[in-house]
């Protein structure tokens, strides 16, 4: 039954190209951040959903993403200690663990993943996109750093659509608050043509990213659109959207995937290529970061491939058609923030998941519900039941956490996943018998 087949050469060849490139890019941003005191570049802390990277770059600033730092620390097994440090300072067990990992990191000398101290931010830019905790988080950071703070108020898509009024409201704030503060902090005058250039490059990279994500419609899928895609999203979701490096990266990645499709190859995993795709799943919710590989292994060992996920849309729902638009730069930035996955209402999220189950011909929907993330988790059971009803594909529910290692119970998660996979198999056989008779 096991499809485990470690082919070290395959892993290496993957690492030779896009994987290594991606790693180099992420590391280079950490180096740019930690060398800011020497280079004199200004640091802007902001969040992945609704980040205005193209704009930040117009002012020569470097982007620092606290939730990405928490993820990096979790994957290096550092977040547990950081969270406990934050709890000693009085942050409750139930608070978002990204926040606590970040606060713990600050208390422990704010050491970046490259081992060097992270400079204090010169500016805090909060694009508020559906996560209430982000607001409280930046309040804590503002108190700590006492630097200029801008809150870009992004209206929630309560009715599931973006109105002109909402767009105008965001653009007005960009013009009157965000851009003037950036000019003031950086000492650089805003140049809209520079922004247009960045956005043109964004759109190019976005085209290739969408192509890569949609390649999972192939059978077998050449990619894992959840675990594997995390790596593909790194440049787009962090500091590289709008850069030539990102354009180049996604070209290389796309070429690699094209080759995989031509050879009918399955996704690459830490233990080699998946030889036989047995289950195609759609996943809702962020991954667990502290046990990322262990969690992934529970899937690839059983031949389960994720063909679409919503987490890979938190930094932009590009597969639904949105592109950064150089002809309408500010309006398009507004649309980008407004359209973020976490800023969508429940019916819209259900629609998206339903579309994924159908278009990617998935066997089912799995929800990884995050204990400390209410903005993602609230309503997920209702969503699951609705999708089951609409598509007939079975749903399953597991619970883990983002970066708190105490909330990953491997035995329970594995037990449930195995049951789920076997249930899919049994239903499939049941259907075959029913069709035959």
């Amino acid at each position: 039954m096991s499809t485990k087949t470690a082919t070290p050469t395959a892993v290496e060849s993957q690492k030779d190209s896009s994987m290594l490139m991606q790693k180099r890019m992420i590391n280079s941003n950490y180096d740019a951040l930690t060398s800011a005191p020497e280079t004199g570049r200004k640091v802007c802390s902001t969040f992945v959903p609704g980040n205005l990277n193209e704009l930040i770059q117009c002012f020569g600033m470097i982007n620092n993403l606290p939730e990405t730092n928490a993820i990096q620390n979790a994957m290096r097994q550092q977040s547990g200690g950081m969270i406990q440090t934050a709890e000693r300072q009085g942050h409750s067990e139930d608070v978002c663990t990204y926040v606590k990992a970040d606060i713990g990191m600050m208390s422990k000398g704010n050491i970046a993943p490259n081992g060097k101290p992270m400079p204090n931010p010169d500016m805090l830019l909060l694009s508020y996109t559906g996560c209430f905790t982000f607001m409280k988080w930046f309040e804590l950071l503002r108190q700590e750093y006492k630097c200029p703070t801008v809150m870009l108020q992004v209206p929630y898509q309560g009715d599931g659509e973006i109105t002109q009024n909402m767009r105008d409201f965001v653009v007005k704030q960009l013009k009157e608050e965000v851009i003037p503060t950036m000019e003031q902090v950086s000492g650089v005058k805003f140049d809209i043509d520079r922004l247009r250039e960045n956005m043109r490059r964004s759109a190019q990279a976005e085209d290739d990213l969408v192509w890569v994500l949609e390649s999972a419609k192939n059978k077998p899928s050449p990619i894992d659109a959840y675990f594997g895609a995390i790596y593909y999203l790194g440049p787009m979701f962090t500091a590289f959207r709008g850069t030539q490096e990102a354009v180049d990266y996604y070209k290389v990645l796309r070429k690699e995937i094209e080759e995989r499709i031509a050879k009918s190859q399955g996704p690459i995993t830490p233990e080699g290529e998946i030889q036989k795709e047995r289950y195609r799943l759609v996943v809702e919710g962020p991954p667990n970061w502290t046990n990322f590989r262990e969690f992934w292994k529970m899937f690839y060992e059983e031949g389960a491939v994720v063909v679409a996920s919503t987490y890979t849309k938190v930094g932009g729902v590009y597969d639904q058609g949105f592109r950064h638009d150089a002809d309408n730069p500010l309006e398009s930035l507004a649309d980008y923030c407004l359209g973020c996955y976490t800023n969508r209402n429940l019916p819209k999220r259900v629609e998206l998941l339903e579309q994924y189950v159908n278009e990617y011909e998935a066997d089912g929907l799995l929800i990884n519900s995050i204990k400390s993330c209410n903005s993602f988790s609230a309503g997920q059971l209702m969503m699951m039941q609705e999708i089951e009803k609409r598509t007939g594909a079975p749903g399953a529910f597991v619970e883990t956490d983002l970066v708190d290692p105490r909330y990953f119970s491997a035995a329970n998660v594995k037990n449930r996943l195995e049951s789920y996979f076997q249930m899919i198999e049994q239903r499939r056989q049941g259907r075959m018998i029913a069709t035959a008779s």
């Binding site: 039954m1 096991s2 204990k371 059971l381 039941q385 089951e388 079975p394 749903g395 529910f397 619970e399 909330y407 119970s409 035995a411 329970n412 037990n415 449930r416 195995e418 049951s419 076997q422 249930m423 049994q426 239903r427 049941g430 018998i433």
Partner: protein, 437 residues
């Protein structure tokens, strides 16, 4: 004859079912789960094979034998004598291991009459424990450790005083030895023990010489039938530790679903409350699982919750249900945390609430939690089959009936006296189908 065996290795007990080629269950076996899973599985399987022999013997006697005594009485006597012989083998092992520990103790701590105390303890134990197998005697448990343990504690107390040795030392010796005894694989020669048991019946005058000859002839024929272990399927929490290849292991969700379907073909919803998990399972008309939910992260509200409460109140597990049935008033108890429920219980007692009312509240708490899991799995459809150790508890059943009626209307609720074997039954059927297919 071909036999198909299912083994359900649960957190508290290990169950086994032996099935014949037509899908009819022949025998059931149960034992307490212990640190050595291989032994637990082997004991449960051996027990199921013993029970299968008895079933075959009954059939053969019913078919051909001309007897004076009722078949029921003969089989009851035969099984009782057989169990006694098994029990005495284990008691012999216990005595040997305890003796070894006494020698070690003696070597370290010098002269005392520990060996004398132990010898007298066992002389008494053999007499007292044999009484448990007298005609008409009732046993509080089927497990050696429970029966031997409770009598040992009583006898050791008296003997420690008589021989002027430390009572705790005598009890420690038992505690260390019982674990080893349980991990010794079963050693009883089945044919020889059955035939000796029959001789014992004759010698005790429980059976006449004519019946004896008739039964002996039939018994020999039944013992000559080879019970071929054609295919074994394992399930339950410890399934990954079972000494089987992966194809022989099925998720307990699937096994419970199929097992419940075999017991009651009209089952559409299964509720299983086991030692550490509660499962809500929806099955179709073929017993195929279409959806399921389990408790998350925490086992409050499962069988162990009742075990903990029994310990807190210094009651036997089987005494909780009958006590709760005497309740006349509703007392609300939380079900969020087992340990907190213990504290709440003492608090209620100090406020003057009656034990039976508090007990009823605790049973209600468990079922309320189960109802939440059921609704998450898709609700309750007619018929509902209730399985697992907690299904034997009348107070839990009463609360379930009430809450199902309140929430879903007048539905048929099935509870089989052998419901604890549901998972093993499903596993046995999977074994049968694996060969059939």
């Amino acid at each position: 004859m071909k036999c198909f065996i299912g083994i359900d290795l649960g957190s508290t007990t290990t169950k086994s079912v032996v099935m014949d080629e037509t899908g009819k269950p022949l025998g059931h076996g149960i034992t307490n789960s212990r640190s050595n899973y291989d032994t637990a599985a082997l004991v449960a399987k051996t027990e199921a094979l013993i029970s299968a022999r008895l079933v075959l013997l009954r059939k053969a006697l019913e078919r051909d034998a001309q007897l004076t005594l009722a078949i029921d009485a003969i089989l009851e006597g035969l099984e009782r004598r057989f169990r006694l012989a098994q029990f005495m083998v284990q008691l012999g092992n216990l005595e040997r291991l305890c003796s070894e520990k006494v020698q070690e103790n003696q070597a370290r701590h010098g002269e005392s009459d520990l060996q004398g105390a132990l010898d007298d303890t066992f002389t008494n134990l053999k007499v007292e424990l044999a009484k448990l197998f007298d005609p008409g005697a009732s046993r509080k448990s089927d497990f050696f450790r429970d029966l031997a343990g409770s009598v040992y504690m009583e006898v050791a107390e008296t003997q420690a005083d008589a021989h002027k040795v430390n009572q705790d030392t005598l009890i420690n010796i038992y505690d260390k030895s019982i674990i080893e005894v349980e991990n010794i694989p079963p050693q009883v020669d089945m044919s020889e023990t059955f035939l000796t048991a029959l001789d014992d019946l004759l010698n005790a005058g429980e059976i006449g010489p004519e019946d004896y000859a008739e039964v002996q002839r039939t018994l020999k024929a039944v013992l000559a039938i080879e019970l071929e272990e054609t295919y074994v399927v394992g399930t339950g929490y410890g399934r990954a530790r079972l000494p089987f290849p992966k194809e022989h292991i099925r998720s307990e969700i699937l096994c419970h679903g199929l097992g419940a379907h075999l017991m009651y073909p009209n089952t559409r919803t299964v509720l299983d409350i086991g030692g550490q998990d509660t499962k809500g399972i929806q099955v179709d008309e073929n017993g195929i699982v279409v959806n399921f939910q389990m408790n998350d992260r925490c086992a409050a509200g499962c069988g162990r919750y009742l075990g903990y409460i029994a310990d807190e109140m210094q009651l036997g597990l089987h005494e909780l249900g009958p006590m709760a049935m005497k309740s006349t008033k509703q007392v609300t108890i939380n079900s969020t945390c087992t340990v907190f429920a213990g504290a709440e219980l003492r608090d209620r007692l100090s406020l003057g609430e009656k034990r039976e009312d508090i007990m009823a509240g605790l049973h209600r708490a468990i079922i309320l939690r189960a109802m939440s899991i059921l609704s998450r799995s898709g609700g309750v459809d007619n018929e509902l089959t209730f399985t697992g150790g907690v299904a034997k508890n009348e107070a839990a059943v009463k609360e379930l009936r009430k809450l199902v009626e309140d929430n879903y209307g007048d539905l048929k609720i099935n509870i089989d006296p052998d419901s604890i074997f549901t998972g093993a039954l499903g596993a046995a059927e999977f074994a049968r189908r694996a060969v059939e297919a």
